[in-house]
């Protein structure tokens, strides 16, 4: 079987023009440099393109073997900095037993996935699921390819398979000393059908995995050749600048296209709207700058609908009021919490609040689309090319088999690039352009103001303490929103962007993202009630790195800290005691181990100068519908100046690895990313709503963490559990804010119950 999958004439022309015709387009690097870069990088700067040669042989949909033994691994997950291309290739190569130095990678064909009955299983990259869900089938694909290659060698020599061994892609028949390389038997192997699928390795048998591996895509990211969606150039391409209704769910009332039509380079003005497409207007031109400046100059009137006066301040006010409303949906009820609380002599009570947050990907939103009579081509960096294809098909009115989505590198994802709004909008624009391709680019301001935001949330915690200072009764009430209001129809299967609007499943309540982390208290409390009110606004929300945890863990781990102080106990030892007494919590011992590692590594309890404090927080990424967890303990060491300036000195992060990490190097970097992400949010970030629209616009009013603000970050791996962990793509985020805020309390005596910190006066004397 040849790898040269059927390429339509036009796909061929596009490919030839962009690779071979680089100079004609004015690309400065000659073709040889592109290939050289790809050679070092082990994948193309345009990752949707195959590096496989004409004579390379496909041994299963994921594996392509060249006569010179180069192995190309196809990857269905999207690279956004988490090292997923490398990790996916490693999981497969672990079984394939080929030479890692001869491995290269490419994205799978999304179109083939649809034409061949979802051959690549799942093409989304969300929920930290690439290793958790991908490992079994990627290992199987590697094992299967290996056994077919071995069977081919056995056939060639006329010897039993059992007499053969393999190492680094070289098959040896020990009895006769003969060898064959994978490249020599690939063609024969491609025709072999195995009587049964081979068994895959268990973690204790791993060799390649567990080792730190440099990322295959790094070279492409230091010479400018990595192609992000925004970098795509297609022959004949137009550019569009788009503005959607500034008030969410508004409409276009009128616009004066004539006023800009004669501006330089302007091609046309098009309107867009539709199901799950925020209505708006785009100017199409021969360059982005022409399109952008014309759009900025064009008067547009909006019909703001019913939300033109909404404010986030009002949302908070009404959420606080809702805390006292009856009819909350009960998640957990144990003992007699209300009765005990009513008669308690000491009740600790606190209301916590967190704002909307934006994902703030560095690469502004964009998508290139071409809709012709017989097919649709899309170039975009997507976390969910599968649902993006389905959406493109719907908007274009084509069957999915006619959609060709070329996935690019993603300039940040964090959950934002799995909503497909970029694709729906671009297809809606492109289908009005008579077959010409168009690259739609949002300004930074548009990108900030048209997000799918991390939902704001309000909660109230009440607990009574016994004479020993331990909680006797506990009531948690949350008022919050669905994280996928706008995208609720685009819910993928497990591993996709989970809508919390789904109904109860397996006896567990719906609205999972709202209640995640609070639904089963890890701490021992004899009387418990946890209930919630679901409240939605018109503001689109979506999964934001760590989904549900960045809010709920701030609430929970701050409140436990408050209880510890109310009890006059050390916050670390108090948590330990609450875990050790909880016989119902199966992970209590593992938590204790991780918590202990964080405390020990940070030198918890050491004497600190005035104004410096340490704060601790712990949790795991349990979800209602799955058993895998990742346990993380965080200790923050923070200094607050007398004027109230916060300096996070150090973050110690202890992480349970389970029996293995696929790539410890990538995992460590992921934790660093999550600390950075969590700190930026805790310190300064909030999206506020006024007049129904987002106030913030750019890095000046929605600041990222700066290099000067980076703490020292120490990641401590702990093997506290025996099953594979849930993942490591986002898990640490939730415990950054509570650890930091608990440290601020230790340093200043000021208790932080709402974020971000910039809204608090932290001065002390």
């Amino acid at each position: 079987m040849s790898t040269n999958r059927e390429i339509s004439r036009r796909e061929f022309v596009v490919t030839a023009a962009t690779v071979g015709g680089g100079l004609a387009l004015g690309l400065s690097f000659p073709k040889s440099d592109v290939l050289r870069a790809a050679e070092i990088a082990k994948l193309s700067g345009r990752p949707w393109e195959s590096l496989a040669g004409r004579n390379d042989i496909e041994v299963g949909p994921w594996v392509v073997i060249a006569p010179d033994d180069t192995v190309t691994i196809r990857v269905g997950q999207s690279e956004m900095g988490q090292g997923v291309i490398t990790s996916c290739a490693k999981m497969l190569v672990e079984e394939l037993e080929c030479d890692w130095s001869k491995v290269r990678a490419e994205y799978v064909s999304v179109n083939r996935h649809f034409r061949e009955n979802k051959v690549y299983k799942r093409l989304n990259t969300t929920s930290s699921s690439s290793v958790r869900l991908g490992r079994p089938y990627l290992q199987q694909a590697g094992a299967s390819a290996r056994e077919r290659l071995m069977a081919a060698a056995a056939q060639t020599w006329g010897v039993p398979r059992a007499e053969l061994t393999v190492k680094d892609g070289v098959i040896t028949h020990k009895l006769t000393g003969r060898t064959l390389r994978y490249g020599q038997v690939a063609e024969k192997a491609a025709a072999i059908k195995l009587p049964a699928e081979p068994k895959i390795k268990t973690p204790d048998q791993y060799t390649l995995m567990k080792k730190p591996t440099k990322l295959l895509d790094t070279p492409l990211k230091v010479d400018g050749s990595a192609t992000y969606g925004i970098d795509v150039r297609v022959p004949g391409m137009l550019y569009a600048a788009a503005n959607a209704s500034p008030v969410f769910k508004g409409k276009v009332k009128s616009y004066d296209a004539d006023s800009v039509k004669r501006r330089p380079g302007v091609h046309s003005v098009v309107e867009f709207s539709g199901e799950e497409i925020e209505a708006g207007v785009a100017v199409v031109a021969d360059s982005y700058w022409h399109a952008r400046t014309a759009l900025d100059a064009m008067p547009i009137e909006w019909d703001e609908g019913t939300h033109g006066n909404d404010t986030s301040e009002e949302f908070f006010k009404s959420s606080r009021a809702t805390l006292d409303e009856p009819g909350a949906k009960v998640v957990t009820m144990k003992g007699d919490p209300e009765g005990v609380l009513k008669n308690a002599s000491q009740v600790v009570e606190a209301v916590y609040e967190v704002p909307y947050l934006d994902h703030t990907v560095m690469e502004p939103f964009n998508c290139t689309a071409q809709v012709t009579a017989d097919r649709v081509d899309i170039w975009v960096g997507s976390q969910d090319p599968e649902n993006a294809t389905i959406d493109a098909a719907k908007v274009a009115g084509f069957p999915v088999e006619k959609i060709y989505l070329h996935n690019c590198f993603l300039g940040g994802g964090f959950g934002r690039r799995g909503n497909q709004d970029d694709v729906r909008q671009a297809v809606a624009i492109a289908k009005q352009l008579g077959g010409r391709p168009v690259k739609v680019i949002w300004s930074r301001e548009e990108t900030t103001r048209h997000g799918y935001y991390r939902p704001m949330r309000v909660s109230r915690f009440r607990a009574s303490l016994g004479p020993d200072g331990m909680p006797l009764a506990w009531h948690t009430r949350v008022v919050g929103m669905d994280e996928a209001v706008f995208a609720s129809k685009l819910v993928a299967a497990e591993g996709g962007l989970v809508s919390n609007t789904r109904a109860s499943k397996n006896g567990e309540p719906g609205d999972e993202q709202l209640i995640r982390g609070l639904h089963k208290l890890p701490y021992f409390v004899p009387n418990q009630l946890f209930d919630y009110h679901l409240r939605n606004t018109h503001v689109p929300t979506g999964p934001w790195t760590s989904v549900g945890r960045s809010q709920n863990e701030f609430f929970l781990e701050t409140f436990v800290d408050e209880l510890a102080h109310a009890a006059g106990r050390d916050p670390y030892l108090y948590r330990r005691a609450l875990l050790e007494t909880n016989a119902e919590f199966p992970f209590a011992k593992a938590w204790t181990e991780v918590l202990g590692a964080a405390a020990e590594q940070s030198d918890w309890g050491r004497k600190l100068p005035a104004g410096t404090g340490m704060g601790i927080a712990i949790g795991d990424s349990r979800r209602l519908s799955r058993t895998e967890i990742t346990i993380i303990g965080v200790v923050a060491t923070v200094t607050v100046s007398k004027k109230g300036e916060v300096r996070v000195e150090r973050m110690d992060v202890a992480v349970d690895t389970g029996p293995f990490l696929v790539n410890p190097l990538a995992a460590e970097r992921q934790v660093e990313m999550q600390v950075t992400m969590g700190l930026a949010a805790a310190l300064r970030q909030e999206i506020t709503i006024e007049k129904g629209r987002v106030v913030q616009s750019n890095f000046d009013d929605y600041p990222l963490l700066r290099a000067t603000e980076m703490p020292e970050i120490s990641v401590h791996w702990v093997r506290a559990t025996d099953d594979p962990i849930a993942g490591i793509g986002e898990e640490a985020v939730g415990w950054v804010a509570p650890a930091v805020c608990n440290a601020i309390f230790a340093a200043t005596g000021k208790r932080i119950r709402s974020l971000p910190l910039k809204n608090h006066d932290l001065s002390w004397s």
């Binding site: 990907v361 560095m362 970097r669 750019n698």
Partner: protein, 152 residues
């Protein structure tokens, strides 16, 4: 018509003089390694060198760069062998990678000016933003690049 000298090659470009250099480099000339992110000189993703100095090209009118030596990430070195690029690969710095062209261009300018920068120099001179938080690895890589350059 403007005459722009990018990576030692001269281009005649038909753009309005106020067009930001970034968009001429990306859309007209077709070098996409230089990134657009904020459009307001806040983040540094668009950093290029003009006469060896780091410049945020998203706010620089192309006419002001006419006739100057403009260098982008693609032209920083033949075959990506600038000490900063070697060090970046060694330390495996990039995550999503989108800001890294700008980070490397800023670092290269710093190293040209100060062959052995201190942490304080780096903090002062490299103000580029990174959402993935690769700052600590960037700092390591700049120190390593200084070593590589010193040995060369």
């Amino acid at each position: 018509m403007l005459s722009l000298k990018v990576n030692r090659k001269t281009y005649s470009v038909d753009v309005e003089p106020e067009t930001p250099l970034l968009w001429v480099i990306r859309d007209t000339i077709g070098l996409t390694g230089t990134k657009f992110s904020c459009g307001k000189a806040l983040c540094g993703a668009c950093t290029v060198h003009v006469n060896g100095k780091p410049v945020r090209s998203c706010v620089l009118p192309a006419s002001l760069a006419a006739g100057q030596e403009i260098t982008t990430i693609e032209g920083l070195s033949p075959n990506a062998q600038h000490p900063a690029q070697i060090a970046w690969r060694e330390a495996d710095v990039p995550e999503c990678g989108y800001c890294q062209s700008g980070q490397i261009m800023a670092a290269a300018a710093l190293l040209a000016n100060k062959p052995n920068p201190t942490d304080a120099d780096i903090e002062r001179e490299i103000t580029n933003l990174c959402r993935c938080g690769t700052y600590l690895r960037i700092r390591q890589a700049i120190h390593r690049a200084a070593q590589i350059a010193a040995k060369a």
